[in-house]
Symmetry: C2
Subunit: 300 residues, 2 copies
Amino acid sequence: VVFDTDDEDLKPGMTILLKDGDRPIATVKFTEKFAPNKPLECLKCYGTSQIEHPGSLMVATERGRYYMGGEVTGLNLPIREFPCRTPKEVRDSLPDDKDVVAFQCRNPVHRAHYELFTRALDDENVGEGGVVLVHPTCGPTQADDIPGNVRYKTYEVLKEETADPRVKWDYLPYSMHMAGPREAIQHMIIRKNFGCTHFIIGRDMAGSKSSITGDDFYGAYDAQDTAKANAEKLGVTPVPSLNLVYCEEEGYVTADFAEEKGLSIKKLSGTKFRQMLRGGEDIPEWFAFKSVVKVLRENA
Amino acid sequence: VVFDTDDEDLKPGMTILLKDGDRPIATVKFTEKFAPNKPLECLKCYGTSQIEHPGSLMVATERGRYYMGGEVTGLNLPIREFPCRTPKEVRDSLPDDKDVVAFQCRNPVHRAHYELFTRALDDENVGEGGVVLVHPTCGPTQADDIPGNVRYKTYEVLKEETADPRVKWDYLPYSMHMAGPREAIQHMIIRKNFGCTHFIIGRDMAGSKSSITGDDFYGAYDAQDTAKANAEKLGVTPVPSLNLVYCEEEGYVTADFAEEKGLSIKKLSGTKFRQMLRGGEDIPEWFAFKSVVKVLRENA
Protein backbone atom coordinates (compact mmCIF):
# COMPACT_ATOMS: atom_id res chain seq x y z
CA VAL A 1 0.00 0.00 0.00
CA VAL A 2 1.42 3.34 -1.09
CA PHE A 3 0.50 6.67 0.49
CA ASP A 4 0.79 9.04 -2.46
CA THR A 5 0.00 12.74 -2.63
CA ASP A 6 0.44 15.91 -4.68
CA ASP A 7 0.13 17.96 -1.49
CA GLU A 8 3.19 20.19 -1.00
CA ASP A 9 2.14 20.94 2.59
CA LEU A 10 2.29 17.39 3.96
CA LYS A 11 5.69 16.95 5.62
CA PRO A 12 7.58 14.39 7.69
CA GLY A 13 6.86 14.98 11.38
CA MET A 14 3.15 15.60 10.77
CA THR A 15 0.51 13.09 11.89
CA ILE A 16 -2.67 12.64 9.85
CA LEU A 17 -5.93 10.82 10.44
CA LEU A 18 -7.14 8.39 7.76
CA LYS A 19 -10.93 8.13 7.59
CA ASP A 20 -13.48 6.02 5.72
CA GLY A 21 -16.35 8.45 5.48
CA ASP A 22 -16.64 9.71 9.07
CA ARG A 23 -15.07 6.60 10.60
CA PRO A 24 -11.50 7.05 11.85
CA ILE A 25 -9.39 4.15 10.54
CA ALA A 26 -5.78 4.94 11.44
CA THR A 27 -3.25 7.64 12.12
CA VAL A 28 -0.06 7.96 10.13
CA LYS A 29 2.93 9.73 11.66
CA PHE A 30 4.99 10.63 8.62
CA THR A 31 8.72 9.97 8.72
CA GLU A 32 9.58 10.42 5.05
CA LYS A 33 8.45 11.97 1.78
CA PHE A 34 10.07 11.47 -1.59
CA ALA A 35 9.52 11.80 -5.33
CA PRO A 36 9.48 8.18 -6.53
CA ASN A 37 11.29 6.92 -9.61
CA LYS A 38 8.09 5.71 -11.27
CA PRO A 39 9.77 4.19 -14.35
CA LEU A 40 11.95 2.05 -12.05
CA GLU A 41 9.00 1.16 -9.83
CA CYS A 42 6.96 -0.01 -12.83
CA LEU A 43 9.86 -2.06 -14.21
CA LYS A 44 10.41 -3.79 -10.87
CA CYS A 45 6.72 -4.39 -10.08
CA TYR A 46 5.22 -5.05 -13.50
CA GLY A 47 8.27 -5.99 -15.54
CA THR A 48 7.54 -3.09 -17.90
CA SER A 49 7.16 0.68 -17.71
CA GLN A 50 4.77 0.68 -20.69
CA ILE A 51 1.55 2.44 -19.70
CA GLU A 52 -0.30 -0.03 -21.91
CA HIS A 53 -0.03 -2.16 -18.73
CA PRO A 54 -2.86 -1.29 -16.30
CA GLY A 55 -0.49 -1.28 -13.32
CA SER A 56 2.02 1.09 -14.92
CA LEU A 57 -0.86 3.30 -16.09
CA MET A 58 -2.19 3.46 -12.52
CA VAL A 59 1.23 4.32 -11.04
CA ALA A 60 1.91 6.95 -13.73
CA THR A 61 -1.49 8.61 -14.09
CA GLU A 62 -3.42 8.00 -10.87
CA ARG A 63 -0.78 8.23 -8.16
CA GLY A 64 0.49 11.60 -6.98
CA ARG A 65 4.03 12.87 -7.42
CA TYR A 66 5.15 12.14 -3.84
CA TYR A 67 5.14 8.99 -1.77
CA MET A 68 5.17 9.19 2.03
CA GLY A 69 6.01 6.67 4.71
CA GLY A 70 5.57 6.57 8.45
CA GLU A 71 4.22 4.87 11.51
CA VAL A 72 0.66 3.56 11.12
CA THR A 73 -1.57 3.11 14.18
CA GLY A 74 -4.87 1.30 13.59
CA LEU A 75 -8.00 2.72 15.25
CA ASN A 76 -10.95 0.89 13.67
CA LEU A 77 -11.45 -1.63 10.88
CA PRO A 78 -13.31 -0.22 7.89
CA ILE A 79 -16.90 -1.38 7.39
CA ARG A 80 -17.06 -3.11 4.03
CA GLU A 81 -19.63 -4.52 1.64
CA PHE A 82 -17.69 -7.77 1.95
CA PRO A 83 -16.99 -8.38 5.65
CA CYS A 84 -13.25 -9.04 5.58
CA ARG A 85 -11.89 -10.82 8.63
CA THR A 86 -8.39 -10.05 9.82
CA PRO A 87 -5.52 -12.48 9.14
CA LYS A 88 -5.58 -13.53 12.80
CA GLU A 89 -9.33 -14.17 12.76
CA VAL A 90 -9.02 -16.26 9.60
CA ARG A 91 -5.98 -18.16 10.93
CA ASP A 92 -7.82 -18.94 14.16
CA SER A 93 -10.79 -20.35 12.19
CA LEU A 94 -8.62 -22.80 10.20
CA PRO A 95 -7.34 -26.20 11.34
CA ASP A 96 -3.77 -25.70 12.52
CA ASP A 97 -2.58 -29.26 11.89
CA LYS A 98 -3.82 -29.64 8.30
CA ASP A 99 -2.86 -28.20 4.96
CA VAL A 100 -4.86 -25.17 3.86
CA VAL A 101 -5.09 -24.58 0.10
CA ALA A 102 -5.93 -20.99 -0.88
CA PHE A 103 -8.04 -20.33 -3.97
CA GLN A 104 -7.82 -16.75 -5.24
CA CYS A 105 -10.63 -15.46 -7.45
CA ARG A 106 -12.17 -12.24 -8.70
CA ASN A 107 -15.20 -13.66 -10.50
CA PRO A 108 -18.25 -15.69 -9.47
CA VAL A 109 -17.46 -19.35 -8.78
CA HIS A 110 -18.88 -21.72 -11.41
CA ARG A 111 -18.80 -25.54 -11.55
CA ALA A 112 -15.37 -25.78 -13.17
CA HIS A 113 -13.82 -23.57 -10.45
CA TYR A 114 -15.53 -25.58 -7.75
CA GLU A 115 -14.28 -28.87 -9.17
CA LEU A 116 -10.84 -27.34 -9.59
CA PHE A 117 -10.39 -26.21 -6.01
CA THR A 118 -12.00 -29.25 -4.36
CA ARG A 119 -9.82 -31.58 -6.49
CA ALA A 120 -6.77 -29.54 -5.51
CA LEU A 121 -7.14 -31.29 -2.14
CA ASP A 122 -6.19 -34.53 -3.95
CA ASP A 123 -2.96 -32.97 -5.31
CA GLU A 124 0.13 -35.02 -4.46
CA ASN A 125 1.56 -32.02 -2.56
CA VAL A 126 -1.47 -31.63 -0.26
CA GLY A 127 -1.66 -33.72 2.89
CA GLU A 128 -4.55 -35.89 4.14
CA GLY A 129 -7.53 -33.97 5.56
CA GLY A 130 -6.61 -30.63 4.00
CA VAL A 131 -9.13 -27.83 3.49
CA VAL A 132 -9.62 -25.13 0.85
CA LEU A 133 -9.86 -21.44 1.69
CA VAL A 134 -11.82 -19.73 -1.09
CA HIS A 135 -10.44 -16.21 -0.75
CA PRO A 136 -11.83 -13.80 -3.35
CA THR A 137 -10.27 -10.36 -3.69
CA CYS A 138 -12.87 -7.68 -3.19
CA GLY A 139 -11.12 -4.37 -3.75
CA PRO A 140 -11.89 -2.15 -6.75
CA THR A 141 -12.21 -4.42 -9.81
CA GLN A 142 -11.40 -4.08 -13.51
CA ALA A 143 -14.01 -2.19 -15.56
CA ASP A 144 -15.52 -5.40 -17.02
CA ASP A 145 -15.57 -7.41 -13.78
CA ILE A 146 -18.82 -8.06 -11.91
CA PRO A 147 -19.32 -5.50 -9.08
CA GLY A 148 -18.05 -6.56 -5.66
CA ASN A 149 -21.35 -6.50 -3.82
CA VAL A 150 -22.94 -8.83 -6.41
CA ARG A 151 -19.99 -11.20 -6.31
CA TYR A 152 -20.23 -11.26 -2.54
CA LYS A 153 -23.84 -12.45 -2.73
CA THR A 154 -22.90 -15.21 -5.21
CA TYR A 155 -20.24 -16.49 -2.83
CA GLU A 156 -22.56 -16.44 0.17
CA VAL A 157 -25.36 -18.38 -1.56
CA LEU A 158 -22.85 -20.89 -2.90
CA LYS A 159 -21.33 -21.42 0.54
CA GLU A 160 -24.83 -22.22 1.78
CA GLU A 161 -25.75 -24.39 -1.22
CA THR A 162 -22.59 -26.50 -1.14
CA ALA A 163 -22.09 -26.56 2.65
CA ASP A 164 -18.88 -28.56 2.25
CA PRO A 165 -16.93 -28.77 5.54
CA ARG A 166 -13.69 -29.01 3.52
CA VAL A 167 -14.35 -25.57 1.97
CA LYS A 168 -13.89 -22.35 3.97
CA TRP A 169 -14.82 -18.90 2.63
CA ASP A 170 -13.34 -15.53 3.42
CA TYR A 171 -12.80 -12.21 1.64
CA LEU A 172 -9.65 -10.25 0.93
CA PRO A 173 -9.61 -6.44 0.67
CA TYR A 174 -7.23 -6.22 -2.28
CA SER A 175 -7.27 -4.78 -5.77
CA MET A 176 -5.49 -6.72 -8.51
CA HIS A 177 -2.40 -5.18 -10.13
CA MET A 178 -2.29 -7.67 -13.04
CA ALA A 179 1.43 -8.03 -12.36
CA GLY A 180 1.65 -11.69 -13.44
CA PRO A 181 4.45 -13.68 -11.78
CA ARG A 182 5.31 -10.95 -9.24
CA GLU A 183 1.69 -10.73 -8.23
CA ALA A 184 1.54 -14.52 -7.73
CA ILE A 185 4.37 -14.12 -5.20
CA GLN A 186 2.50 -11.30 -3.48
CA HIS A 187 -0.67 -13.41 -3.26
CA MET A 188 1.30 -16.29 -1.74
CA ILE A 189 2.81 -14.02 0.93
CA ILE A 190 -0.61 -12.58 1.75
CA ARG A 191 -2.23 -16.04 1.98
CA LYS A 192 0.58 -17.32 4.18
CA ASN A 193 -0.32 -14.53 6.58
CA PHE A 194 -3.94 -15.80 6.49
CA GLY A 195 -2.80 -19.27 7.55
CA CYS A 196 -2.57 -21.02 4.16
CA THR A 197 0.11 -23.60 3.30
CA HIS A 198 -0.74 -24.01 -0.40
CA PHE A 199 -1.83 -21.69 -3.19
CA ILE A 200 -3.64 -22.66 -6.40
CA ILE A 201 -2.14 -20.98 -9.48
CA GLY A 202 -3.77 -21.15 -12.88
CA ARG A 203 -2.52 -20.41 -16.36
CA ASP A 204 -1.99 -16.68 -16.87
CA MET A 205 -2.55 -15.83 -13.21
CA ALA A 206 -2.82 -12.03 -12.83
CA GLY A 207 -1.87 -11.78 -16.51
CA SER A 208 -2.49 -8.72 -18.60
CA LYS A 209 -2.34 -7.58 -22.18
CA SER A 210 -1.29 -4.33 -23.82
CA SER A 211 -4.31 -2.02 -23.92
CA ILE A 212 -3.30 -1.13 -27.49
CA THR A 213 -1.88 -4.22 -29.20
CA GLY A 214 -3.46 -6.94 -27.04
CA ASP A 215 -0.05 -8.62 -26.65
CA ASP A 216 0.48 -10.56 -23.40
CA PHE A 217 2.93 -9.05 -20.94
CA TYR A 218 3.72 -12.45 -19.38
CA GLY A 219 3.99 -16.02 -20.57
CA ALA A 220 1.07 -18.34 -19.72
CA TYR A 221 3.18 -20.28 -17.19
CA ASP A 222 5.37 -17.46 -15.84
CA ALA A 223 3.33 -17.17 -12.63
CA GLN A 224 3.45 -20.94 -11.97
CA ASP A 225 7.17 -21.13 -12.73
CA THR A 226 8.07 -18.14 -10.56
CA ALA A 227 5.92 -19.50 -7.73
CA LYS A 228 7.62 -22.91 -7.92
CA ALA A 229 11.07 -21.33 -7.97
CA ASN A 230 10.30 -19.33 -4.81
CA ALA A 231 8.09 -21.83 -2.96
CA GLU A 232 10.68 -22.94 -0.42
CA LYS A 233 11.76 -19.40 0.43
CA LEU A 234 8.12 -18.32 0.81
CA GLY A 235 7.04 -21.40 2.78
CA VAL A 236 3.97 -21.74 0.55
CA THR A 237 3.54 -24.56 -1.96
CA PRO A 238 1.97 -23.71 -5.31
CA VAL A 239 -0.65 -26.12 -6.64
CA PRO A 240 -1.08 -25.79 -10.41
CA SER A 241 -4.70 -25.61 -11.59
CA LEU A 242 -5.98 -28.73 -13.30
CA ASN A 243 -7.14 -28.06 -16.84
CA LEU A 244 -10.69 -29.41 -16.43
CA VAL A 245 -13.31 -29.89 -19.12
CA TYR A 246 -16.87 -31.14 -18.91
CA CYS A 247 -18.04 -34.12 -20.89
CA GLU A 248 -21.42 -35.88 -21.13
CA GLU A 249 -20.00 -39.29 -20.26
CA GLU A 250 -18.01 -38.63 -17.10
CA GLY A 251 -18.63 -35.02 -15.99
CA TYR A 252 -15.53 -32.98 -15.17
CA VAL A 253 -12.28 -34.64 -16.22
CA THR A 254 -8.87 -33.31 -17.21
CA ALA A 255 -8.48 -32.21 -20.83
CA ASP A 256 -5.74 -34.83 -21.27
CA PHE A 257 -7.99 -37.62 -19.99
CA ALA A 258 -10.87 -36.50 -22.23
CA GLU A 259 -8.62 -36.51 -25.28
CA GLU A 260 -7.15 -39.91 -24.43
CA LYS A 261 -10.61 -41.47 -24.01
CA GLY A 262 -12.14 -39.56 -26.95
CA LEU A 263 -14.86 -38.09 -24.72
CA SER A 264 -17.32 -35.52 -26.09
CA ILE A 265 -16.42 -32.21 -24.46
CA LYS A 266 -19.07 -29.53 -23.87
CA LYS A 267 -18.01 -25.91 -24.00
CA LEU A 268 -19.64 -22.64 -23.05
CA SER A 269 -17.66 -19.43 -23.38
CA GLY A 270 -17.86 -16.61 -20.85
CA THR A 271 -19.28 -14.37 -23.58
CA LYS A 272 -21.99 -16.90 -24.49
CA PHE A 273 -22.77 -17.38 -20.79
CA ARG A 274 -23.30 -13.64 -20.29
CA GLN A 275 -25.51 -13.52 -23.40
CA MET A 276 -27.66 -16.39 -22.09
CA LEU A 277 -27.78 -14.72 -18.68
CA ARG A 278 -29.04 -11.47 -20.20
CA GLY A 279 -31.40 -13.29 -22.58
CA GLY A 280 -33.08 -15.19 -19.73
CA GLU A 281 -32.10 -18.56 -21.25
CA ASP A 282 -31.61 -21.68 -19.10
CA ILE A 283 -27.98 -21.98 -18.05
CA PRO A 284 -26.87 -25.63 -18.02
CA GLU A 285 -26.19 -26.83 -14.49
CA TRP A 286 -22.93 -28.47 -15.53
CA PHE A 287 -21.64 -24.93 -16.17
CA ALA A 288 -23.02 -22.77 -13.33
CA PHE A 289 -24.65 -23.22 -9.96
CA LYS A 290 -28.37 -22.38 -9.89
CA SER A 291 -28.00 -20.25 -6.78
CA VAL A 292 -25.24 -18.19 -8.40
CA VAL A 293 -27.19 -17.71 -11.63
CA LYS A 294 -30.18 -16.52 -9.64
CA VAL A 295 -28.12 -13.87 -7.84
CA LEU A 296 -26.50 -12.70 -11.08
CA ARG A 297 -29.94 -12.38 -12.76
CA GLU A 298 -31.46 -10.52 -9.83
CA ASN A 299 -28.57 -8.03 -9.85
CA ALA A 300 -28.04 -7.62 -13.63
CA VAL B 1 0.40 22.03 -28.20
CA VAL B 2 -2.04 20.26 -25.90
CA PHE B 3 -4.42 22.04 -23.53
CA ASP B 4 -4.65 19.58 -20.65
CA THR B 5 -6.48 19.93 -17.35
CA ASP B 6 -7.76 18.06 -14.31
CA ASP B 7 -10.48 20.69 -13.89
CA GLU B 8 -13.93 19.09 -13.90
CA ASP B 9 -15.60 22.49 -14.26
CA LEU B 10 -14.07 23.47 -17.62
CA LYS B 11 -16.59 22.57 -20.32
CA PRO B 12 -17.08 22.96 -24.06
CA GLY B 13 -18.87 26.25 -24.75
CA MET B 14 -16.80 28.15 -22.19
CA THR B 15 -14.20 30.73 -23.26
CA ILE B 16 -11.06 31.20 -21.20
CA LEU B 17 -8.26 33.78 -21.25
CA LEU B 18 -4.67 32.52 -21.40
CA LYS B 19 -2.22 34.83 -19.65
CA ASP B 20 1.56 35.05 -19.26
CA GLY B 21 1.80 36.68 -15.85
CA ASP B 22 -0.63 39.62 -16.23
CA ARG B 23 -0.30 39.80 -20.00
CA PRO B 24 -3.30 38.47 -21.93
CA ILE B 25 -2.03 36.13 -24.67
CA ALA B 26 -5.08 34.49 -26.21
CA THR B 27 -8.63 33.37 -25.68
CA VAL B 28 -9.72 29.77 -26.21
CA LYS B 29 -13.35 29.02 -26.95
CA PHE B 30 -13.62 25.36 -26.04
CA THR B 31 -15.41 23.05 -28.43
CA GLU B 32 -14.39 19.67 -27.00
CA LYS B 33 -13.11 17.88 -23.92
CA PHE B 34 -12.07 14.27 -23.74
CA ALA B 35 -10.09 11.77 -21.69
CA PRO B 36 -7.15 10.90 -23.96
CA ASN B 37 -5.88 7.37 -24.56
CA LYS B 38 -2.41 8.18 -23.23
CA PRO B 39 -0.88 4.75 -23.96
CA LEU B 40 -1.92 5.12 -27.62
CA GLU B 41 -0.73 8.74 -27.76
CA CYS B 42 2.70 7.74 -26.42
CA LEU B 43 3.01 4.84 -28.85
CA LYS B 44 2.14 7.05 -31.81
CA CYS B 45 4.30 10.03 -30.76
CA TYR B 46 7.30 8.39 -29.14
CA GLY B 47 7.14 4.88 -30.55
CA THR B 48 6.86 3.51 -26.99
CA SER B 49 4.58 3.87 -24.00
CA GLN B 50 7.44 3.11 -21.60
CA ILE B 51 7.71 5.93 -19.06
CA GLU B 52 11.48 5.44 -19.13
CA HIS B 53 11.10 7.72 -22.17
CA PRO B 54 10.99 11.42 -21.11
CA GLY B 55 8.12 12.17 -23.50
CA SER B 56 5.93 9.31 -22.27
CA LEU B 57 6.78 10.25 -18.68
CA MET B 58 5.68 13.84 -19.35
CA VAL B 59 2.39 12.76 -20.98
CA ALA B 60 1.64 10.24 -18.21
CA THR B 61 2.73 12.13 -15.10
CA GLU B 62 2.64 15.86 -15.94
CA ARG B 63 -0.39 16.23 -18.17
CA GLY B 64 -3.89 16.30 -16.70
CA ARG B 65 -6.54 13.68 -17.30
CA TYR B 66 -8.51 15.69 -19.88
CA TYR B 67 -7.51 17.31 -23.14
CA MET B 68 -9.54 20.19 -24.53
CA GLY B 69 -9.75 21.73 -27.98
CA GLY B 70 -11.29 24.86 -29.37
CA GLU B 71 -10.93 28.11 -31.24
CA VAL B 72 -7.80 30.09 -30.32
CA THR B 73 -7.74 33.88 -30.82
CA GLY B 74 -4.36 35.55 -30.34
CA LEU B 75 -4.27 38.83 -28.39
CA ASN B 76 -0.58 39.55 -27.68
CA LEU B 77 2.71 37.77 -28.24
CA PRO B 78 4.37 36.63 -25.01
CA ILE B 79 7.47 38.59 -23.93
CA ARG B 80 10.34 36.13 -23.81
CA GLU B 81 13.93 36.00 -22.65
CA PHE B 82 14.71 34.99 -26.22
CA PRO B 83 12.85 37.35 -28.53
CA CYS B 84 11.11 34.90 -30.86
CA ARG B 85 9.96 36.37 -34.15
CA THR B 86 6.82 35.01 -35.78
CA PRO B 87 7.03 32.68 -38.77
CA LYS B 88 5.93 35.51 -41.06
CA GLU B 89 8.55 37.92 -39.68
CA VAL B 90 11.27 35.32 -40.15
CA ARG B 91 10.06 34.39 -43.65
CA ASP B 92 10.01 38.06 -44.65
CA SER B 93 13.63 38.46 -43.49
CA LEU B 94 14.92 35.57 -45.60
CA PRO B 95 15.77 35.65 -49.33
CA ASP B 96 12.78 34.23 -51.19
CA ASP B 97 14.69 33.03 -54.25
CA LYS B 98 17.44 31.10 -52.46
CA ASP B 99 17.62 27.90 -50.45
CA VAL B 100 17.39 28.32 -46.69
CA VAL B 101 19.03 25.59 -44.59
CA ALA B 102 17.73 25.34 -41.02
CA PHE B 103 20.09 24.35 -38.22
CA GLN B 104 18.30 23.20 -35.06
CA CYS B 105 20.22 23.31 -31.79
CA ARG B 106 19.70 23.32 -28.05
CA ASN B 107 23.28 23.92 -26.90
CA PRO B 108 25.84 26.68 -27.39
CA VAL B 109 27.37 26.75 -30.88
CA HIS B 110 31.02 25.68 -30.94
CA ARG B 111 33.48 25.56 -33.87
CA ALA B 112 32.45 22.11 -35.06
CA HIS B 113 28.78 23.18 -35.24
CA TYR B 114 29.69 26.36 -37.04
CA GLU B 115 31.77 24.48 -39.61
CA LEU B 116 29.00 21.94 -39.94
CA PHE B 117 26.23 24.38 -40.76
CA THR B 118 28.28 26.68 -42.99
CA ARG B 119 29.58 23.68 -44.97
CA ALA B 120 25.98 22.44 -45.30
CA LEU B 121 25.65 25.26 -47.84
CA ASP B 122 28.06 23.29 -50.05
CA ASP B 123 25.88 20.17 -49.89
CA GLU B 124 24.96 18.84 -53.33
CA ASN B 125 21.26 19.34 -52.54
CA VAL B 126 21.62 23.03 -51.65
CA GLY B 127 21.47 25.59 -54.47
CA GLU B 128 23.94 28.41 -55.20
CA GLY B 129 23.75 31.41 -52.84
CA GLY B 130 21.85 29.61 -50.08
CA VAL B 131 21.78 30.80 -46.47
CA VAL B 132 21.68 29.09 -43.10
CA LEU B 133 19.03 29.85 -40.49
CA VAL B 134 20.47 28.98 -37.07
CA HIS B 135 17.24 28.32 -35.19
CA PRO B 136 17.83 27.20 -31.58
CA THR B 137 14.88 25.91 -29.57
CA CYS B 138 14.42 27.96 -26.44
CA GLY B 139 11.56 26.37 -24.53
CA PRO B 140 12.11 24.54 -21.23
CA THR B 141 15.25 22.43 -21.54
CA GLN B 142 16.41 19.07 -20.16
CA ALA B 143 17.76 19.20 -16.60
CA ASP B 144 21.41 19.07 -17.72
CA ASP B 145 21.13 21.60 -20.57
CA ILE B 146 22.48 25.14 -20.24
CA PRO B 147 19.72 27.60 -19.19
CA GLY B 148 17.94 29.40 -22.02
CA ASN B 149 18.93 32.94 -21.08
CA VAL B 150 22.64 32.01 -21.05
CA ARG B 151 22.39 30.21 -24.37
CA TYR B 152 20.67 33.24 -25.84
CA LYS B 153 23.64 35.43 -24.90
CA THR B 154 26.11 32.95 -26.46
CA TYR B 155 24.18 33.07 -29.73
CA GLU B 156 24.01 36.86 -29.78
CA VAL B 157 27.76 37.35 -29.19
CA LEU B 158 28.58 34.73 -31.80
CA LYS B 159 26.30 36.38 -34.36
CA GLU B 160 28.23 39.60 -33.77
CA GLU B 161 31.67 37.93 -33.76
CA THR B 162 31.12 35.96 -36.97
CA ALA B 163 28.96 38.53 -38.81
CA ASP B 164 28.57 36.15 -41.75
CA PRO B 165 25.91 37.41 -44.20
CA ARG B 166 25.19 33.78 -45.16
CA VAL B 167 24.16 32.99 -41.57
CA LYS B 168 20.84 34.19 -40.13
CA TRP B 169 19.84 33.73 -36.49
CA ASP B 170 16.42 33.38 -34.93
CA TYR B 171 14.87 31.65 -31.93
CA LEU B 172 12.14 29.03 -31.69
CA PRO B 173 9.80 28.78 -28.67
CA TYR B 174 9.74 25.00 -28.48
CA SER B 175 10.58 22.33 -25.92
CA MET B 176 12.15 19.11 -27.16
CA HIS B 177 10.16 15.87 -26.85
CA MET B 178 13.14 13.58 -27.60
CA ALA B 179 10.85 11.72 -30.00
CA GLY B 180 13.60 10.78 -32.47
CA PRO B 181 12.42 10.27 -36.07
CA ARG B 182 8.92 11.63 -35.45
CA GLU B 183 10.39 14.73 -33.90
CA ALA B 184 12.65 15.24 -36.94
CA ILE B 185 9.49 15.35 -39.06
CA GLN B 186 7.92 17.85 -36.67
CA HIS B 187 11.01 20.08 -36.82
CA MET B 188 10.93 19.99 -40.62
CA ILE B 189 7.26 21.02 -40.71
CA ILE B 190 7.93 23.88 -38.26
CA ARG B 191 10.98 25.11 -40.21
CA LYS B 192 9.06 24.99 -43.48
CA ASN B 193 6.60 27.38 -41.86
CA PHE B 194 9.56 29.65 -41.02
CA GLY B 195 10.60 29.76 -44.68
CA CYS B 196 13.25 27.02 -44.76
CA THR B 197 13.77 24.67 -47.71
CA HIS B 198 16.37 22.39 -46.11
CA PHE B 199 16.94 20.95 -42.65
CA ILE B 200 20.22 19.66 -41.18
CA ILE B 201 19.81 16.34 -39.38
CA GLY B 202 22.57 14.78 -37.32
CA ARG B 203 23.11 11.31 -35.94
CA ASP B 204 20.65 10.54 -33.14
CA MET B 205 18.62 13.69 -33.69
CA ALA B 206 16.13 14.12 -30.80
CA GLY B 207 17.24 10.69 -29.57
CA SER B 208 16.67 9.46 -26.07
CA LYS B 209 17.64 6.62 -23.79
CA SER B 210 15.77 4.66 -21.16
CA SER B 211 16.10 6.51 -17.84
CA ILE B 212 16.71 3.12 -16.22
CA THR B 213 18.69 0.91 -18.58
CA GLY B 214 20.30 3.60 -20.77
CA ASP B 215 19.19 1.73 -23.91
CA ASP B 216 18.53 3.89 -26.98
CA PHE B 217 14.91 4.17 -28.06
CA TYR B 218 15.86 4.91 -31.68
CA GLY B 219 18.58 3.86 -34.06
CA ALA B 220 21.34 6.42 -34.76
CA TYR B 221 20.10 7.01 -38.32
CA ASP B 222 16.34 6.60 -37.78
CA ALA B 223 15.74 10.36 -37.87
CA GLN B 224 17.75 10.84 -41.10
CA ASP B 225 16.08 7.84 -42.76
CA THR B 226 12.56 8.90 -41.78
CA ALA B 227 13.27 12.46 -42.93
CA LYS B 228 14.55 11.25 -46.32
CA ALA B 229 11.55 8.95 -46.77
CA ASN B 230 9.15 11.86 -46.14
CA ALA B 231 11.10 14.72 -47.74
CA GLU B 232 9.02 15.00 -50.89
CA LYS B 233 5.71 14.92 -49.05
CA LEU B 234 6.95 17.56 -46.59
CA GLY B 235 8.57 19.79 -49.21
CA VAL B 236 11.69 20.06 -47.06
CA THR B 237 15.00 18.44 -48.00
CA PRO B 238 17.07 16.88 -45.21
CA VAL B 239 20.80 17.59 -45.22
CA PRO B 240 22.73 14.96 -43.24
CA SER B 241 25.31 16.41 -40.84
CA LEU B 242 28.91 15.96 -41.92
CA ASN B 243 30.93 14.01 -39.40
CA LEU B 244 33.67 16.63 -38.85
CA VAL B 245 36.86 16.26 -36.83
CA TYR B 246 39.64 18.76 -36.12
CA CYS B 247 43.25 18.02 -37.05
CA GLU B 248 46.44 20.04 -36.64
CA GLU B 249 47.35 19.85 -40.30
CA GLU B 250 44.19 20.96 -42.06
CA GLY B 251 41.70 22.14 -39.43
CA TYR B 252 38.14 20.74 -39.72
CA VAL B 253 37.84 17.87 -42.17
CA THR B 254 35.49 14.89 -42.42
CA ALA B 255 36.39 11.89 -40.31
CA ASP B 256 36.70 9.79 -43.50
CA PHE B 257 39.14 12.25 -45.05
CA ALA B 258 41.24 12.40 -41.87
CA GLU B 259 41.49 8.62 -41.77
CA GLU B 260 42.36 8.35 -45.45
CA LYS B 261 45.15 10.91 -45.10
CA GLY B 262 46.33 9.65 -41.70
CA LEU B 263 45.85 13.08 -40.12
CA SER B 264 46.32 13.61 -36.37
CA ILE B 265 42.86 14.23 -34.93
CA LYS B 266 42.40 16.35 -31.79
CA LYS B 267 39.53 15.53 -29.47
CA LEU B 268 37.91 17.29 -26.53
CA SER B 269 34.86 15.72 -24.90
CA GLY B 270 31.93 17.76 -23.67
CA THR B 271 32.68 16.57 -20.14
CA LYS B 272 36.34 17.65 -20.38
CA PHE B 273 35.25 21.00 -21.87
CA ARG B 274 32.91 21.68 -18.94
CA GLN B 275 35.70 20.73 -16.49
CA MET B 276 38.12 23.15 -18.18
CA LEU B 277 35.43 25.83 -18.22
CA ARG B 278 34.84 25.46 -14.49
CA GLY B 279 38.59 25.18 -13.76
CA GLY B 280 39.36 28.45 -15.56
CA GLU B 281 41.68 26.68 -18.02
CA ASP B 282 42.29 28.03 -21.51
CA ILE B 283 39.86 26.49 -23.96
CA PRO B 284 41.50 25.83 -27.34
CA GLU B 285 40.12 28.10 -30.02
CA TRP B 286 39.80 25.23 -32.46
CA PHE B 287 37.11 23.86 -30.11
CA ALA B 288 35.09 26.88 -28.93
CA PHE B 289 34.65 30.54 -29.85
CA LYS B 290 36.25 32.96 -27.38
CA SER B 291 33.11 35.10 -27.19
CA VAL B 292 30.99 32.06 -26.33
CA VAL B 293 33.44 30.82 -23.68
CA LYS B 294 33.41 34.29 -22.10
CA VAL B 295 29.62 34.30 -21.81
CA LEU B 296 29.57 30.75 -20.38
CA ARG B 297 32.21 31.71 -17.78
CA GLU B 298 30.43 34.90 -16.78
CA ASN B 299 27.17 33.00 -16.28
CA ALA B 300 28.49 29.79 -14.69
